[in-house]
């Protein structure tokens, strides 16, 4: 066991997979010599060489496209988007090429496209986005958002081993703030499985990514007020763990859906819809969504603070729902 930060967990996961499987390689901007803008790939160039850790030009479309091509002929590329905000430059390759090959002509595309998402770092509109919604509606893709170091490592391994294209959205705010003891032996976190972070009886918060910590903080505060909160960490956005979602909804009968992607069209709506469709009789109150307002991510601290869901917002809404 070793105490490992979230970012080191990602690095270790990739490193171990590269050691195990020669077909795994990395490509992206500044990933080699520089070790990546956030140092996720630090040391990898020296260890694995320039043919497996490739410094690319500024060409997100080519990065993902080349990953697709190499995957078609048996490689397992891990493409890095320096900031996940730049994934939009590769949108076409992801949704029209990678996502549809298997369905159309039986060719698997086992690629991973990963990068740092999320705000809270004064990054402004183009260094803080949570893009899962853009790809949520594209069958053929998988999307994961780890919140702990354990899941970061387990999910990157699962993503690399997955036969289909996986979008792996790590949260930059968590990189060095989160750490835990990780087992030495190989482990994988299955894609499509949520996990309970806190058990409770009165109210469920369904969430993922960095918001998991805000939910847990709120749960502590609410416990003081006699409200027992259950926190479900989705971990996978596509596919959703519908069983876990319905189980918690049926258990507490009061649900908050919380995420950092903006409100309208965010993945939360799908969670709400499934509960309304399949667990309606169990509900004792309306399902509440908590998400940032429908704006670009603003930059100045008071604006960004107003934008991001805060613990006090969650506590307030939970109190109200609990009292319904």
């Amino acid at each position: 066991m070793a105490v490992t930060t979230y970012i080191d967990a990602i690095r270790e996961g990739i490193w171990e997979e590269m050691e195990k499987d020669e077909s795994v390689f990395i490509l992206g901007e500044d990933v080699g010599i520089y070790g990546g803008a956030f140092k996720v790939t630090k040391g990898m160039l020296d260890k694995f060489g320039p043919m497996r850790v490739i410094d690319t030009p500024i060409s997100e479309s080519a990065i993902v496209g080349a990953a697709i091509g190499a995957a078609l002929v048996g490689m397992r590329p891990v493409a890095e988007m320096q900031f996940i905000d730049f994934i939009s430059c590769a949108f076409d390759q992801i949704v029209n090429f990678a996502a549809k090959c298997r369905y159309r002509w039986g060719a698997g595309v086992p690629i991973v496209v990963r990068g740092p998402s999320g705000g809270g770092v004064h990054g402004g509109p183009f260094h803080s986005q949570n893009p899962e919604a853009y790809f949520f509606n594209v069958p053929g893709l998988k999307i994961v958002c780890p919140s702990t170091a354990y899941d970061a490592k387990g999910l990157i391994k699962a993503a690399i081993r997955d036969p289909d294209p996986v979008l792996y959205f790590e949260h930059k705010y968590l990189y060095r703030r989160i750490k835990e003891d990780l087992p030495a032996e190989d482990f994988v976190v299955p894609i499509g499985k949520a996990i309970l972070r806190r058990e409770g009886e009165d109210l469920s918060i369904i969430t993922y990514g960095a918001m998991v910590y805000k939910a847990l903080e709120a749960a502590e505060a609410l416990a003081q007020m006699g409200i027992d909160v259950e926190v479900l960490d989705l971990r996978s956005i596509l596919p959703l763990d519908e069983e876990a979602i319905l189980t918690t909804a049926k258990k507490t009968s009061k649900v908050i859906v919380l995420h950092e992607a903006t409100l309208t069209g965010g993945p939360g709506g799908e969670v709400v819809a499934r509960i309304a469709e399949k667990a309606f009789e169990y509900l004792d109150g309306p399902i509440v969504r908590i998400a940032p307002p429908d704006t670009p991510v603003p930059y100045s601290p008071p604006l960004e603070e107003a934008f991001l869901p805060q613990t006090k917002d969650i506590v307030e809404k939970a109190k109200k729902l609990a009292a319904y």
Partner: protein
Amino acid sequence: MVERNTMTKNARYVHVPDDETKIRMLHFMKLVREIEDRIEKKLYRQGRIVGGVYVGRGQEAISVGTAIHMEKDDVVAPSHRDMGVFLMRGVTPRRIIAQYMGRRTGLTRGRDGNMHMGDMNYNVIAFVSHLGDNVPVAAGVALAFKQRGQKQVALCYNGEGATSRGDWHEGINFASIHKLPVTFFINNNAYAYSTPIELQMAVKDVAVRAAGYGIPGEVVDGNDILAVYDSGKRAIDLARSGGGPSIVEYKTFRMTGHSAHDDAGYVPPELFDEWKRKDPITRFEKALLEEGALTQARLDEMQRECALIVDDAVEWAEQQPYPAAEEVTKDVYYEGT
């Protein structure tokens, strides 16, 4: 910097096919023509095709003269007017027609239409409608070959219109930096739907752009099968020997509309007349007859053979079942097969 290679005598070419290869290439060109004529001029108009039809009439030499050099493990990423590639990779006319008819035994099992087909068992990557997308993908295939120290090459085909897309630029730039074993063929047929060259780019030759990537570029008469054969081999050999990518631009003309429903009224009719006189199949047949590599009787026989192959393919395809409704959700993701 840009070499020009126009048709005339055999002596100009480094690589000249032997007679058997010449006949073989002629057969494939004629087969492509027969299949596409049948699809566009007959089946489509009779309502026996599902969806749109895109043919490469007049451009048969390009796919045939280049794909003839492919080795078994090479991988190809064709575009929509490269029927020759499929046939030469071993895809049968039966399955191609079934593909156009949306049947379960077509190459995509009814999942996608017309030329949007591929199969890694034949090392053919299915193209997408987003032209130019196949360029970074082909570069990626070549990257894998280089990483694994393999002697295979990737071939990538696009029209001149596709070269306006950013993916084309990014993919070739990437391939050039890493000297990847991939060759980029440009089928410059002068029109991208209704857009003529001068509205597509401000350069006369796509091959001029090769200099911007530090790679060789060549302009070739795409209606001269021997020029295509020669230039294709030189470019593929360059890639295979570690010399990296190159751009080979074949000048030709789209002897039809963008698709079957397009009457191409925007093309000055004189252009059709001019290029009809340069038809790649007619030219080649004439040359072969003149040099005695072919007799008229054999030629007629070849024509009949092609017609019979296509007759058989159509008959077979029309008996094929459509996919079952339940199949619609299969194979979105890996299902263990």
